[in-house]
Point group: C2
Chain length 295, copies 2
């Protein structure tokens, strides 16, 4: 990537069961020159997919628009059910600064993309996190409260009624986020909800952690679904250990964990160093990091 | 690094206390055009230093020769003591294939370097691992048995007497190795020796693991000093967990661990995925890996 600014977009769509729809959205995004789709994944319990793509600012914005357009055409929220809260066919579309880019660049991209979503598709838009027009709307949960069926606040652009089948689109700018799920060996969703409440920042838990307790009926398990909004301040391994400790207090074991989308290398390195109790670890210990520094 | 073959050399010298000597060796190695010194570290208890450098084949061979020459000038084994076994001032010099290179390339470099060490410095040479001339000498321990004071076998080149102050040099070719120490909260070296014996391949333990139990008098601890000769077959985290389990059986806790030299990224990723119990991890999950694949 020889471009001076690289932007990541981690778009969440309300379809996690029909492969053809997710593939159509992915193809639409990838049809823009300069955009590289890094990852597309779908979750059947959440009935939700996440497509991660990168590129220079204008290309990523156009990729997002084409993906949103395809989702609006193909997803009807009136027929959609899943355990994850949602407000739109193209539910959440955050832009993230990577190499050479700033959060301010991403706010500008989010605002421009939002205007265009209303203009092209007649889908109203909320702006969240760093792109919020109103401090009350910084938090995604505040924009999405009530969901598609009963939105509790009016959109920032368009509306006030939502699009009849595609709802609204929540567009934002934010720092790199780690989305991580921990699955627990119980079918009692109260355990996952208890743990989520103890862990998350909003109820006095760990800073920079969002958490939801969800049933995973398909697997007979429950899940603590986590977002880490600043993994350098609250490391992934510390959150995982806290979930494990709280689960143990309920007499429940961990079945496994899942990374959603992509994870920064530093979070992996920090976790390895922590669990190996390594006293002298730093990124410069990793052979490949040293070889790349010579390039 | 635009060269088609990249070779790593992880040279071990019998000086871990005098910074000036280690710096002189490092400078001699780094004086060769095309050589990059990635890491130099010294251990006072071992009285030993490890200098890791990379470059194209001819440059790395010449870097090794200049480093060996400086070690021969400055280190007198008659005055050397340390907890780690050793045979020479420049004790062990393995060449490792990295990008574009094969183990056979490294055997050729090792043999050529060995001839030159005898010619330039009158230091006899043993060849070990893939560069061994005799299957009995593949294992480093077999070459080094008896140490500088009482070598048990004659050198492959030069000798038969060792150099009076600089001993012999053991030169080899091998795959990437992880050198890793685990320090234990006890001053009873028998615990470290017991664990090393249980863990290491040569006494029926884990395949591709070498282990020694050593006192760390400087810290009032003992150490299990480990070499993993194929970390993809016997992962680092599995070895660490085995040491922890055996230590617990002795009622001893782990004080911490240390990586010596550099560690391949895959070992770090595998450890993180293991401890985080991540069911869907692969290298493609790491954001930076994906961005580099686009370059």
């Amino acid at each position: 990537m020889s471009h001076s600014k690289v932007i990541e977009c981690v778009a969440n769509f309300s379809e996690g069961r029909d492969r053809a729809t997710v593939a159509a959205i992915e193809d639409a995004i990838g049809s823009v020159a300069g955009v590289a789709v890094l990852r597309a994944e779908m979750d059947s319990d959440h009935n939700r997919s996440v497509i991660t793509f990168v590129g220079p600012p204008d290309a990523v914005a156009e990729g997002a628009l084409r993906g949103i357009g395809t989702a609006v055409q193909r997803i009807d929220l009136r027929k959609h059910a899943g355990v994850h809260p949602r407000m739109g066919a193209a539910d959440v579309v955050p832009f993230v600064p990577l190499e050479g880019a700033t959060l301010a660049d991403c706010v500008a991209i989010a605002r421009r993309t939002g205007e265009e979503v209303w203009k092209r598709f007649q889908v109203p838009v909320y702006f969240y996190e760093a792109a919020a027009l109103n401090p009350d709307r910084r938090r995604l949960e505040n924009c999405r409260r009530g969901g598609f069926e009963k939105p509790s606040i009016a959109p920032d652009i368009g509306g006030p009624a939502l699009h009849p089948s595609a709802g609204a689109c929540i567009i934002g700018a934010r720092k790199l986020l780690i989305a991580f799920n921990v699955n627990l060996k119980t079918d009692d969703v109260r355990v996952a909800r208890d743990i989520a409440r103890i862990i998350r920042a909003s109820s006095g838990g760990m800073p920079f952690v969002k958490a939801l307790g969800l049933p995973l009926a398909g697997r007979g398990l429950v899940q603590v679904s986590l977002n880490l909004t600043d993994f350098e301040q609250t490391p992934l391994h510390r959150v995982f250990d806290a979930v494990r400790r709280e689960a143990a207090a309920h007499g429940v074991e961990i079945a496994g964990s899942e990374i959603i989308g992509l994870i920064p290398q530093k979070a992996i390195e920090d976790a390895a160093a922590h669990y190996l109790q390594c006293e002298n670890f730093d990124s410069g210990r990793v052979l490949e990091n040293r070889l790349r520094a010579l390039e």
